[in-house]
């Protein structure tokens, strides 16, 4: 370590650093989708929301100079796209999966359209908190430079877990997801509950996008999200609609994404395409192991079209 290198320690450190850096968008999108799906609706459009969030956060941060305004703008943009999704889905006989795909296209297209002039400029970036002050090793310090959005995301997971179980809103959302008739019998409008749940989901997904453009990788371009939004939606089903499992799944996915480059940097060079696909192979493998043909999806909201 005298020469400033840490040799093979790079790999665990990169996986840890990657889990923190790469996981945040997955975390926000999956938590947001968790709320939406628990209310009985699936929003596949969060990929578009993520990209719109990334673009609008970058644009607002660039124009206003304040990255936090950018984060807010991303959240609002996401909530609006969520409202659009909920609004169309509230029409009779409209399929929510299809609307999601439509909004994925629309969001992506709109973000690319409006984002063209934002590729070249540099916008103010979100700050990082230095948790590595105690260490002399620069690599550790770098891995521990953590963005506050990540911490917020980590905090939201247990709060959501608790809220779904104990709060009135949590129960209402779950009731709407388990049986719309029951919710209606209790005198609540299911559409109204789902509208709010979808907007909340969009809000979180938009913030996840702002992390991409304002912190890591930290600039706006059209390749920014290579399917991260849609993967995060898949993670929710993988995590059985449990916010805590969403947290672990996102961390694992982020760490796995860092594995390929880290292994190359210590000399494991063959088959990097397969290492890059590691997160997907891992997810599929875990699903094959943990699922059972008897109980298709425990914890699945009964009203969810994708599991019916």
């Amino acid at each position: 370590m005298a020469d400033g290198t840490i040799g093979l320690w790079t790999v665990p450190l990169a996986v840890f650093g990657g889990a923190v850096r790469v996981s945040t968008p997955f975390l926000f999108v999956s938590l947001g989708e968790c709320i939406t799906e628990r209310s009985g609706r699936i929003n596949l459009g969060l990929e578009g929301t993520l990209i719109m969030g990334a673009m609008s956060a970058y644009g607002i941060s660039y124009l206003s100079g304040s990255p936090w305004l950018g984060v807010l703008a991303a959240g609002i943009t996401g909530a609006l796209l969520g409202a659009l999704h909920a609004g169309i889905c509230s029409l009779p006989r409209v399929n929510d999966i299809a609307v999601g795909i439509a909004l994925m296209l629309f969001g992506t297209g709109l973000a690319f359209y409006l984002g063209k002039p934002l590729i070249e400029p540099t916008a103010a970036r979100l700050p990082a908190i230095d948790f590595g002050w105690w260490s002399d090793v620069p690599q550790v310090r770098a891995a521990l430079r953590i963005n506050v959005l990540f911490l917020i995301g980590v905090a939201i997971a247990p709060i959501l877990f608790w809220a779904f179980r104990t709060t009135r809103w949590g129960l209402l959302i779950r009731t709407a997801g388990e049986s719309s008739d029951a919710a209606r019998a209790m005198g609540y409008s299911v559409l109204w509950i789902r509208l709010r749940a979808t907007m909340a989901g969009g809000f979180l997904a938009g913030i996840g996008g702002s992390f991409l453009s304002l912190f890591y990788p930290g600039s706006w371009n059209e390749g920014l999200s290579s399917g991260q939004g849609i993967t995060a939606v898949a993670l929710v089903i993988f995590a059985r609609w449990n916010p805590m499992l969403c947290l672990w799944a996102s961390l694992a996915f982020g760490g796995a994404a860092a594995l390929g480059p880290a292994l190359q940097s210590v000399g494991v060079t063959s088959g990097y395409h397969l290492f890059n696909a590691a997160p997907y192979i891992l997810t599929l493998a875990i699903m094959i192991i943990t699922c059972s043909p008897k109980r298709t999806l425990t914890g699945a909201p009964a009203e969810l079209s994708i599991t019916r």
């Binding site: 578009g48 659009l84 169309i88 029409l91 009779p92 006989r93 409209v94 399929n95 999966i97 299809a98 609307v99 795909i101 439509a102 909004l103 994925m104 296209l105 629309f106 969001g107 992506t108 297209g109 709109l110 973000a111 690319f112 359209y113 063209k116 399917g227 849609i230 993967t231 898949a234 089903i237 993988f238 088959g271 395409h273 397969l274 890059n276 696909a277 997907y280 192979i281 997810t283 599929l284 699903m287 094959i288 699922c291 059972s292 043909p293 008897k294 109980r295 298709t296 999806l297 994708i306 599991t307 019916r308």
Partner: protein
């Protein structure tokens, strides 16, 4: 969605023929043309307003869209060429939808189909072209078919959600393709664009005589008609639709749901795999990363817009082919960015979906009785 996506022809046949009133008889059919048409017009109007906000003249927009997609014989060929792979990849989503399954992994099946077809062609270089071509079709269908069957089998035997697994299989398929194309299957002379060896000019399937449109269009149309007949006019298709409506009912009448799932998934993946084979045999002549051009993903859009009806897929694929064909002209003449095509597709999709709410609600189409 699948249970409601009744097909127009059958709906007409079912409607009571006692009252000979025109609207009574054809009301539903008119609905199926009028409503999507109105949605399309509405979407175009909104898109016109959108570009007007950026200082472009919407009338120019409509003119160039028409000119680029359907305005000349060349434009028509451009449109049909782009539509050809979409028909097949759309079937990859539309067929499982009959069973209530949402498969979004057509892109993966396309890549694996292309890889299988290329492998077989390279394995039998001595065979006459027709044999090679038939072998390629078989390999493409089997390769793509097994890829989606994997998703179906995981659903049937392990309870793994098919939407997720088929999506994950896209990324895995792409990684396998890249790994092989840059590894053991690489043509050493493909220096800066890692590719497999070429299947040879003699084995290419070429264009429909008198046009630039390759034979993939014919394959697509035939496959769409075959799927239509299979779904709506065979016992197998009837069983699939029953199972799609209600799995329990299907089990009660003794249908082997597992077998249905596997067979439908095989056919669906086979269609996308065939699209991959055609991309190799009619366009690229070899396999490389260029094949991942997103046809599989656009196919999902086509299938949903066509309300999972195999016949409706044909016009919808042509419509989307036309939009992408006209996209170039919009960039060149109006200076719109490439993303305007995505925006327009999104708006059309939203309008068509929202218009689903209108079926059966248009007063004058309900007849007077």
């Amino acid at each position: 969605m699948t249970t409601e996506a009744a097909d127009p022809v059958e709906a007409v046949a079912v409607s009571p023929a006692a009252d000979p009133g025109f609207l009574q008889r054809y009301g539903t059919t008119i609905e199926y043309i009028l409503i999507p048409g109105a949605a399309l017009v509405g979407a175009l109007a909104v898109f016109g307003i959108f570009v007007a906000l950026f200082g472009k003249n919407p009338l120019d927009l409509y003119f160039y869209m028409y000119q680029g997609a359907f305005g000349t014989w060349f434009s028509w060929q451009n449109t049909l060429t782009r539509a050809a792979p979409l028909i097949l990849t759309a079937l990859c989503t539309a067929l499982p939808a009959q069973l209530g399954m949402v498969i979004i992994g057509g892109e993966g099946a396309l890549l694996i189909g292309a890889l299988s077809a290329t492998s077989i062609a390279l394995a039998i270089p001595w065979a006459p072209p027709l044999v090679v071509q038939i072998a390629m079709v078989c390999a493409g269908v089997v390769g793509g078919g097994l890829w989606i069957t994997l998703a179906g089998a995981l659903r049937q035997y392990r309870g793994v959600n098919e939407t997720i697994s088929s999506l994950l299989l896209v990324y895995i398929g792409l990684a396998i393709l890249n790994h092989l194309v840059e590894g053991v299957m690489r043509d050493p002379s493909s220096l800066n664009k890692p590719s497999t060896r070429e299947i040879g000019a003699a084995n290419m399937i070429g264009s429909i005589p008198g046009t630039d449109v390759h034979w993939g269009l014919v394959f697509g149309v035939v496959a769409a008609f075959a799927s239509y007949i299979l779904i709506y006019h065979t016992v197998f298709g009837f069983a699939a639709r029953v199972a799609g409506g209600n799995i329990r009912a299907a089990k009660i009448v003794g249908l082997g749901v597992g077998k249905l799932i596997l067979m439908i998934c095989f056919l669906a993946g086979g269609a996308a795999g065939l699209a991959g084979m055609i991309e190799v045999a009619a366009v690229q002549g070899r396999t490389n990363a260029n094949l991942a051009a997103g046809y599989g993903f656009t196919g999902i859009l086509v299938a949903f817009l066509a309300r999972q009806n195999p016949l409706a897929i044909i016009p919808v694929a042509i419509l989307l082919g036309g939009i992408s064909a006209s996209g170039g002209l919009l960039q060149r003449r109006l200076g719109l960015p490439d993303a305007s095509v995505l925006v327009l597709q999104g708006i059309i999709f939203v309008f068509v979906l929202a218009s689903d709410a209108l079926y059966g609600r248009i007063a004058f189409l309900k007849g007077k009785s």
